[in-house]
Structure formats: structure tokens, C-alpha cells
């Protein structure tokens, strides 16, 4: 159980880091092109999925 939660936590943090990288490469306006929007959607979906796992495991 705890292993699953830990892995979900790290996966979420890594996906958030990918979003952080997008913010860096688009600073200061953060106007995303289509590819960046697609990437952001993918990362956010991963984060949401990991949060669901964390809720399931920890609450």
C-alpha cells in the first residue's frame, strides 16, 4: 500500500516538474503552442490520476 502511494507521489511530482519545464520555456508570457498544450494536458492528466491514487491509498 505505502509503496503505491509513494510511487504515485513521485510520479505526480515528476509530471508537475514537466509542467514547470513548460513554464520555463515559455516565460514570461506562457503562451503555449499546440504541442505545448498537448503536453500540458498529458502531464495534468497524469497528476490527476496520481492524486486519485493518493486519495485511495491515504484517506
Amino acid at each position: 500500500m505505502s509503496q503505491r502511494a509513494a510511487e504515485a507521489l513521485f510520479t505526480a511530482l515528476f509530471s508537475l516538474t514537466d509542467i514547470r519545464a513548460l513554464l520555463r520555456e515559455t516565460a514570461p508570457s506562457h503562451e503555449f503552442d499546440d504541442a505545448q498544450k498537448t503536453a500540458a494536458e498529458k502531464y495534468l492528466a497524469t497528476v490527476k490520476k496520481q492524486i486519485a491514487i493518493l486519495e485511495e491509498e491515504l484517506l
Binding site: 516538474t17 514537466d18 513554464l23 520555463r24 516565460a27 514570461p28
Partner: protein
Amino acid sequence: MRCAANIDARMVEETAINLDPIQVAGRLTPEAMKAVIAWGDGYSVCDNCRKPFRLDYIQNPPLKEFHVELAEWLGMAQARTVPGARRAFQQVAGTYVEKGDPVLIGALAHYTSYLSVEICRGIVREIPKTADNHITPDDTANRIEDVIREFGTVPKLLYIDHVDYQFGNMHDVRGVTKVAHQYDVPVLYNGVYTVGVMQVNGKDLGVDFVVGSGHKSMAAPAPSGVLAATEERAEEVFRTTQMTGDLTGRKFGIKEVGIIGCSLMGAPIVGMLASFPKVKARVEQFDSEMANSKIIVDALKSIEGTKILSEYPRKHTLTRVDTSGSFDVVAQTHKKRGFFLSSALGKKGITGIIPGATKVWKFNTYGMTKKQAEYVAKTYLDIAEENGLRVA
């Protein structure tokens, strides 16, 4: 926003385009940021340190493999990591320089080069810069002769920056090294602005040591750096301990003296390791970095009264500029005085230039996208025009 009770969350890179001359090539890759999240705890990488208990033998994370690859990539026989380039200078100077020994250093070198000699009580003699701010083989030969006349011996060591931190000019390392070796003077190549941003091969350059900075040019957290050496010099600079405790008889295996055993651990080494594949790849793309640099340099050049003090055309993304005839003229009467420029840049999400600098300042375009380069160039032009400066 705070990340801890009294520590601000640093969001410089997420909210602005950073032009800080010493920071931009040290920005972490996403891979490094992830590795720091996972391995940032103190001694983390030492979990799997087994006999012979040395950092560069650890196999998980693959530090052993990394050290071998690093040396190969730099065209040298062996490589180690160090807590910053200055520690590499210290390690090399500590190996060869004794009290009163002369050491030659290019006149554009960083202060830490000098201090690394001073700590050994050596004596620095400088190779002068030319009128166009270069260190040349001819001047090197003359200064070696000067040292021989003054000290009765050749310099124990010579430091040459490939690209200096003051102008970002590129110096003739191969030529300087050729001269130095004619006198049997070992050469330390300072690649703080080159290792990790452009191709560097110590063997091709003929140097004895290659020094690089992780936090300046290898997308690694500070403090971090690398020291690589030829096989002959590696035996000297990476020598292992011969010490025995006189009461206990204790010995310390293969710990290296110059580095006091192990150096980089935790976040610095794991960040460097994680960035390494991208760093190796990015040096092949230096032309595109120079293209972005040109966009901004040309924009600045087009503002009447602005001079590029670095060599031109540029060969590196670090550039020194003189705006005493342009932005500083505006500063004389602007209500914000010299702070008008940094303030105007800040409002447009551009940072990294020293606040108040309107006379002579440096910037570095490394790592930005073309879109960001165009934005920075346009912003400078807009600020110039808004303040009555003529743009060609």
C-alpha cells in the same frame, strides 16, 4: 510565496527570461530537477557505496559509468567531480605548486584561479591581454621567459581560459598550450564557460587538465564541477593516500588526497548525472545558441551609442556591452536614474542584469528559445525607442 518559513520560493526561471551571465547554462534540466526531488537528501547517493568506498565507484546511481563517460567525452583519461571549478583549481595547484613557485595565469582569469595559487603560497605572474582582449601564444612565450629570468625556473603551472568570464572572448588554447609544452609547463584548461555548452576535447587541445563548472555550464546544482586529466597527470593529481596513523596504524584505502576522499554527494552529483545525456546532446547545438545570441546582440548594436565590447562576430553567448552612449544617457535624466533599464526589463519579464547597470554590463543568452530571443531583442529596442534613443 514561501517554500519554508523564511525562505522564498525561487521562481525566477518560471516567471522571467533570465540573462544572468553566470546562471543560464547551469539551469537544471527537467531530468535533473526530478533527480533532485528523488535524491536530494544529504548522503543519498551513498546508499550503495561499497568497497573500495569511493564515490566514483558507486554503481547505483551509475556514478562509476558516469565518470568513465565524462572522461571520454572530454577527451581525457580520467575525470572526477568536484564542488565547483575552484576546487579543481585548488586540487591541481595543490599538487604542483609549493611556496614561492611561479604560476602563469591569463590576465582575464577569474579570481579563484589566483586564490588557488595563493593558498599554496605560490606566486602568480600574469599573461597580459592584448588590446582586443585576448590571451595569445606570443605573450605566453614572453611571460614564460620573464618567469625564467625572475625565478630561475619555468612556471609550475599555466591556467588558460577557453572563454573568459569578462568578455566571453575565445582564446587560442591550442596555441598557448603548444608554447607552454615547449617549456614543459603543464596546462590547466578552464572550461567553466565551455564544458557543457560547446564541444570540448582536451586531447585535441593538448591540455593536461580540463576543468568545468556544473552550476555554470552543465545544468547541475551548485556547488559542482569536473576535473579531468591526462593519464600521466591523473596519477599525480588523483593520487591516493599513503598516510598511516602513527598510533593506530590506520590506513585509508584508495581515498584521493587532493579531493579529501569523496567530493560531490546528494543533489549536486545526482543533478549533474541526470543532466549529462542532455548536456552531451546540447553541445552539438551550439550554433543555434549563437543564432539566438546574434538576434539580441544585433538588436543592441542597432541602438545608437551602444558598443559591443566583446569580440565580434561573437563566438560565445556571454557578451559584454557598453551602453554609456545610449541607455546611460537616458539614465542621467530619467526619474529612476540608472535603475530605469532593469525596471523596464523587469516589467517585461526579463531579469538577470544587475539593477542600476546602464554603462557596462554583461548578459548571456544561453538556453533560451528563438521566440524568447526575439522577445528580448524587441524589448530592448522598444525600451530604447520609448526613451528617445535612435534605432538604426
